[in-house]
Point group: D3
Chain length 270, copies 6
């Protein structure tokens, strides 16, 4: 199921900022000098690689904030699988605006599509298991909301959005508390019983960077009494064996911090 789009009010500040960053103090010198104001163009967003598209609302906003007369007709919406050559959307209107907004629109669209594509590839690799793929807080500063959205578009789930929406006890917290028991006790008394508490275990029951055999044992020990989550550089190739251990979640940082963009281009049709 495709996730709901983020409301415009959430993405507009980011798109405005990205445009201002690119326009600088004088705007698009090249286009302004060469392209007549009255020149109109019809262009298409075309996939140059197979993948999953995400971020069309941001691209549309980039074009329309530069010139509200630009129209975008979506052929393959967020979540659609793309083959090379597939037309994603048709963008038409004043050529100046299309050229001026092009780079910002593509920077956003290619990045989010890259995240959705990578997520989808791991999700597909564990399709026959009960394991969910989740992302982490290792997101690009300023882009967390849209990168997590792209993970959802790719079929993944989102772990914590920030430091404030769950307790996640890590090894350093345990070390400072003195024991897992004490850390849990403090967490429970500190946040009341409304906040979800998670424990990152990587000493005794090492879910972090464990091999599949150990992981299987760990999952068996937990025996459904808690949600189990594996992490540690898991790829589409290694994900199936990890998922086969019965772990509930596989958490993957590189989906947001080290992913390649999906190559999408803007072609002029006239």
């Amino acid at each position: 199921m495709t996730p709901s789009p983020l409301p415009t009010v959430m993405i507009e500040p980011l798109v405005r900022m990205a445009l201002l960053e690119d326009l600088g103090r004088a705007g698009d010198l090249t286009t302004d000098a060469i392209v007549p104001a009255a020149h109109r163009a019809t262009t298409v967003l075309v996939a140059r690689q197979p993948g999953v598209v995400a971020g069309l609302d941001l691209a549309r906003l980039a074009f329309q904030l530069i010139d509200p007369a630009i129209e975008m007709r979506v052929e393959r919406g967020d979540g659609a699988a793309l083959a090379p050559g597939d037309v994603i959307a048709t963008i038409s209107g004043p050529a100046r605006g299309i050229l001026t907004a092009e780079r910002v629109a593509l920077n956003l669209l290619c990045r989010l599509s890259g995240i959705a594509t990578a997520t989808a590839s791991v999700v597909a690799a564990v399709r026959d298991t009960r394991t969910d793929i989740v992302c982490t807080r290792k997101t690009t500063p300023g882009l967390r909301a849209i990168e997590k959205y792209a993970v959802r578009v790719g079929g993944g789930s989102n772990h914590r959005f920030g430091l404030d929406d769950a307790v996640l006890i890590k090894d350093n917290h345990v070390a400072i508390a003195g024991s897992v028991t004490e850390a849990l006790k403090r967490a429970k008394s500190g946040v009341g019983h409304l906040v979800k508490i998670e424990l990152e275990v990587d000493t005794l029951v090492l879910l972090d960077n464990m091999n599949p055999e150990t992981l299987t044992k760990a999952v068996a020990m937990v025996a459904g009494r808690a949600v189990t989550e594996a992490s540690g550089r898991i790829t589409p190739a290694t994900a199936p064996s990890i998922a086969a251990t019965g772990v509930d979640l596989i958490s993957i940082g590189w989906l947001t911090h080290s992913v390649s963009v999906l190559d999408i281009g803007l072609d002029f049709k006239n």
Copy 2:
């Protein structure tokens, strides 16, 4: 030569925004519940991979904006080559603040170090040529200034910072103008002779995505009358043969849009 650091006034808004994005509406639930306010810690930033570090000023600012009592002593500054296990910096002070700022500091530091590392690997591959490595406008929205800085740390140069600091005539501009000659004429009359004008040639003299043989011919044809620049998915492996053609610049988008983070961790020493 290591580039000058960016003034704090340029990076502070980004670091503040990244912290607020992570703190959300309630702050660090876990740390606040578990770690006593008076607990102090000494921690080290440690390289887990070989690479080049970049972004220490941003990391420091992340810690100090959370708690000004946190001190950071740099052992290997921006531009230093790292071996796995190398200590980059020692961070000491109130443990709460260190834990709360950790993820934002690492998100910034690992990303910029990833860019510097990738840049350095390509720069090293063309070390014996006269070719410079440059980045593009394919940067992360909101991070252009710091990503271009990281490219400089890695030994690369920066191409246009935005639409407003040079004319760059691309194929679509030429197509709309009707000819290269007309596009150049309009550009010259439009912006006066203070603005640098560049021409992206990818039809007759195809520097974009050309193979080395064609590229060599193209460079010979230009014969020093212009700065030549090659682009198109160039990697450390392919860069030497491209540089051997005598091209002035190799422009690489993936340095900023598809790079992997450098793995750097924060280890508690006490």
Copy 3:
């Protein structure tokens, strides 16, 4: 007379901020999961208590910033007296947007209506006197402009909007100056004769927290040579006897700092 509405440019930043505060980093999880995008609804804003409505422009903006397709038809505009069950406005359009914006719209509308209602009750209590009801600078941080607007809707007037639009000499200023005379002298020479100068008297002629008898004497002593103002926890019950002393103004902090919201609900009609 109903006061003029505040221009959209003044209220939009606040409404955007309030929406972002509520949407967080993932938007309305509940509505996005349950309500189909195509589902449309017709809803009504209904008074659950008697009172005076204020803030409809802010409510409309909350809905329309979430989805411009939402329409609001006002039945009883700002300043209208409400009986329980009265329909204030009909809001129709995509159900998702209506549900997502509902809480922010109500938070703004109920608060401002609460202020207007409280103001109107005190204004009504002194209707037969020449005394005006004014609010203070004890407003909610960030909401001063709209809270003062709500006081105007309720029939009250606004005292100083900030530290910069009049001189108001308080007891601590007098104490530092050494005497009322000296404080007035400094004020007059310091700000020129364009700025209104007011004196808060609470030692000899104690208008602040005085009982009605003393207040009557004080007003008589002033004899029209100055505008007199009484303050100090005045309620609809005590206002008539205070106004009967002939005081020009009654200044009431609780209208903005301790008022109850007016209970207004959003009912779905289909």
Copy 4:
């Protein structure tokens, strides 16, 4: 247990905005005209009512953003019970800055202390039960983080911080879905199993606005299989009988939307 203070980076934007709102375009005309720049003062924040103090960090920031030379020594920190006349803190330094920042500091401090005081009174009323007091999303626009903090200071807990940190299915969602079962099904498939799902029941098992007898039956029917929560205009007087039903949570909107400020004054000692 007193909750951790919010990091300065979270509260500084709000305090700056509140100061600018009060300073307007010319600053503090009165103080600038009357008080010599060299005049120093020692002042105390004094409780004029019994209550619980909250928000001292915001007050300190207000003073120090106006003049970093102002010092604040806290006598009774956030969470302390106050009797009338109790000194909360001593503030000393340049008199100008103290006078200029006074109103903003008090507006923040009195509001948050009012919330903490009201929360504490309800918490005390259910002290001998297992019921927790929680606040809602009916907070002041822009102040959600600090108002929820004040509820924690008063001994309460925080329910959802926004639309994005849990699913809360209300009657309108159920109506649109067609049934509770369908709404739950959609929610579970829409958000994955990481997000907490809550159901607001007010038809068959009416926890919202139920009387204690019905509530007792409802709690018995749930029998621990879910967290139960009662809401609907609950006050310190009515809370004990509600808590006696065995309900897990009592949710109270008026703690943040209709609370009175706690009266705290700033007295000059010299």
Copy 5:
């Protein structure tokens, strides 16, 4: 009397913005390339023209936001009369920061000093009369607070700071109302008796652009029953004859909209 300085919290956003505008996306290329980080300098701000200095706090902030290690010792503070060659302040510290902040500091300082100088010249021209010199709302967008401050430094007074701090009835308002009487009536009933009401008369009693003879008659007709104000391109040369008419105020737009900067330079001493 020199006016009080504006609090830092009021001027810091403007100075930050001005620095970012100048630093762009890469900072000070020239200084970073040429000046060693360890190089320290001592420099002086020197008057190149006679005038009155204003804006030293903004200049200091520009330097210190670039590098907190830069120190500024003021020799002639805001309001001081300058002769060519006079040293205004000594600025010492890291040479890089001084060079990087120089232009922004001078842009602010020279503009405000230009306004103070122009104001002082008109104030001096009417020194022997009872007429005050006031500025208007014809200020530079974004700089109103500091330009009005500079007028105060020059000995002038400030008229309205914005549309919201007094009623000023102009000819178009009168035309729409139908008559002066009706306009005044509406104003009085619309804003209550706390807001000052002014009337710009330029039909019958034409104070705007009147010659001195007519103006004298007009002032006589008013006979002290109102504050009279003359406007219309008044210069130091024409001001004395205008003031001699007995008018209370001379309002001058060009003090803020068409003034020349005062030439102040930054000289390196080592």
Copy 6:
């Protein structure tokens, strides 16, 4: 050729800020009290002086941000030569909005038109030479983009937009480096060969503040090997003799820092 307009996304933040600065915390008291909401007006922007108009997009935005129902029909667009009495544009719609936005619209329009007019007068003075007129970084803080645009409208060119878009070596840089040669060497190695490097010469070959004879010799010495630029208080009167020396550029700071506004008024037609 008229330069391209700046995209709305670049100018909207400035216009919003200017409106908020003028509206303050209560909006347009006068207009709200006197002008009925339904009153409509037709008004014209009229030149009161000869000049060149610039900034109509900013004026339109000021009106439409206050009330989208206001329409502006341009008769003489940016770059048009104006004679006194010429109608620049017709603005019609709700009278309240027109009056409320009038001052901000005129503040922007008159300032930019003043800059365009001054630029055009110098450009005309050197019309028969090959010399270009350029502006500097001595712009109003916050207005650099639009002031540089106004220079382009007047026929001038823009020099550096900020510290980051070219290297400009000044005397202090040379002094710190020890010699011009060393400064150039550091600049070249520091910024790579993509960044333009300029040298401000004012010792041996003194282009800054030189008289025409010396300047002619200097230009001859350079002999086309570099772009030459003269600066130093050049006016329309002195520009022709400077241009006659053959210098490429004349750089003029007063075009942006000390220019007079062009007098443009808003007249009501009904």
